[in-house]
Subunit: 229 residues, 2 copies
DNA sequence: CTACTTGGGATTGTATGCAATACGTTCCCG
DNA sequence: CGGGAACGTATTGCATACAATCCCAAGTAG
C-alpha cells in the first residue's frame, strides 16, 4: 500500500508521488538529478499543482531536496546513515510491538472491539500468507514490499499515529537502502514475522518487544555485513 | 527558526504553517477542531493554495489529519506516546551526537574546512549564550525554543539530513507535550548543553554519545514524573 | 584582465476558477 | 413511525494564468 508500483485509479497526486519515489528508489532517477515540476506535469499528463504537492511530500519523506525558486534535486542514498537508522528503528519498533501487544490483550478480552483493529489484524494475516506463498512459488522478490507492509501493519496495531508516521519515514529510507543492495536475508527473516505476530496476539508484552527487537537487529547486522563487507 | 512565533517577511506558506502549528501547540486550536482552507485563507489574507500546502506539511508533521474531500482536523496531543517518543529520541540523539563528534574531529584537524559546519557551530555558540542570558535575566520562558534549536543544531552538525528530519519530527511532538505541561526542569537541563557541546568539540565520540543520552534520558524522566506522577 | 552590474530565460510561488467528492438533510415509501 | 435513497451544500482536488525570484551569461567600467 505505501510504496506500491502503480495504482492507476488513485488520485493523481498520490500516483505521481508513488511513481517518483519508485523511480528514485530503483535508480531511474539517480542522486543529484534535477527535477522540474513542468517536466513531470507533461510526463504524467496532469497539471503542475499535484506534481508540486507530490514533490513537497517527497521532500518531507527525505527523497528530494528543494530550494525556494531554485528547483528540486534527488537526495543521495543515505548509505552512511544506515547504521544509525537501524538503531533508531530498533527502538521504534520495539515500542510499536510492545504497544501492539498491550492493545491486543484488551481487544481479545474486553467488550469494546475496535473494527479498525480487527481489519488491520486480518490484513496482517493475509500479508503473512502472501509471503509464505511467495516463498513457496519461488518469488522472493515480492518479500521486500510485503516486509514493509507487515512492519507498518504492526505500527498500525500499536494505535499510535506518531510512531506509525516515524516508522513510515524510516521504512522509506530502509527500502531505499535495500533496493540498492539486493535483498537476500529474505526467507529466514520472513519466518520470524510469525513469531512476532504470535507474541502480539498472546498479549505477551515483554516478549513482543524483545522478539521484534531481535528481528530488527538481525536485519541490521545482515545489511551491514553484506554492504560494508 | 523552526517554530518561531512569527516571521512577517517570510513566504506566506511558511508563515501560515508556523502560525497554525503555534496555535495548535499552545492550545488556540484545540484537538479535534475542524480546519478549512477557505477560512484560513481569509484569515491570513492569502489564497487557498499556500494554505493548502501548509496544511499538508503539518499533516506530515503529525499535527493535523486530513481525509480526501472531507477536510482537516487537529490531532490529539500524543500524551500516551510520550514515553515511546522519548525512547526513540534517546536512540536518535545519541546517534546525532556521536556523528557530530566524529565530524568535529575532522573539522578541527584536517585541511578541508566546511563553511556550513562552522556556521552551524557558531549558531550553537550563540544559542548557548542566549540561553545563559535568558536565565540570568529571569526569562526561563525563552528556554524551550532555544532548547529545540540547540538539539536541531547538533543534528545539523551530524551532517545527516535523514537523522535531522527525524529529530525535527519528534521535536515537534515533544514541544507540544511540553507546552501542555509548563516546562520546569529548565535551568539544570540547560546547563548540561555545554557539556554536550564540549564533548563534541573535543571529538570525543563515546563521551558525546553518552552525555547526550543521559541528558535526553533525564528530560524524559523529568517529564514523565511531572505528568504521570 | 577582473569585478561588478544588468539583462534574459527558466523555475518556482501564488491567485482564481472549475470539477469531483463527501456529508448532512429531507423526502418518500414501507 | 422507521429506514433508505435522492439531493443540495460545503469542502477539497485539479487546471490554468500570472507574479516573484533565482541563476547565468554577456557586457561594461575600472
Amino acid at each position: 500500500m505505501p510504496h506500491s508500483p502503480a495504482n492507476p485509479d488513485a488520485a493523481p497526486k498520490q500516483r505521481v508521488q508513488d511513481a517518483i519515489r519508485h523511480d528514485i528508489i530503483f535508480g531511474t532517477l539517480p542522486a543529484g538529478a534535477r527535477i522540474t515540476e513542468a517536466a513531470l506535469a507533461t510526463k504524467y499528463g496532469i497539471s503542475r499543482v499535484p506534481v508540486r504537492e507530490a514533490l513537497h511530500a517527497l521532500e518531507a519523506e527525505g527523497f528530494v531536496e528543494s530550494k525556494p525558486y531554485a528547483g528540486s534535486t534527488v537526495c543521495a542514498i543515505p548509505v552512511d546513515d544506515a547504521d544509525d537508522l537501524f538503531a533508531v528503528r530498533e527502538a521504534l519498533e520495539a515500542a510499536t510491538a510492545r504497544r501492539a501487544a498491550k492493545r491486543a490483550a484488551g481487544q481479545f478480552s474486553a467488550g469494546a472491539p475496535d473494527g479498525q483493529w480487527w481489519k488491520t489484524r486480518k490484513e496482517l494475516a493475509a500479508i503473512l500468507d502472501e509471503g509464505d506463498a511467495a516463498i513457496g512459488n519461488g518469488r522472493p522478490d515480492l518479500l521486500p514490499e510485503l516486509n514493509i507492509r507487515f512492519h507498518l501493519g504492526i505500527a498500525e496495531l500499536s494505535g499510535s499515529p506518531s510512531l506509525t508516521a516515524l516508522l513510515r519515514q524510516i521504512a522509506g529510507k530502509i527500502e531505499w537502502l535495500y533496493a540498492s543492495d539486493l535483498n537476500s536475508r529474505g526467507k529466514q527473516s520472513w519466518g520470524e514475522h510469525r513469531t512476532v505476530m504470535a507474541a502480539i496476539d498472546a498479549g505477551n508484552v515483554p516478549e513482543a518487544e524483545q522478539v521484534m527487537g531481535v528481528h530488527v537487529h538481525r536485519s541490521r547486522t545482515g545489511y551491514l555485513s553484506r554492504f560494508a563487507g
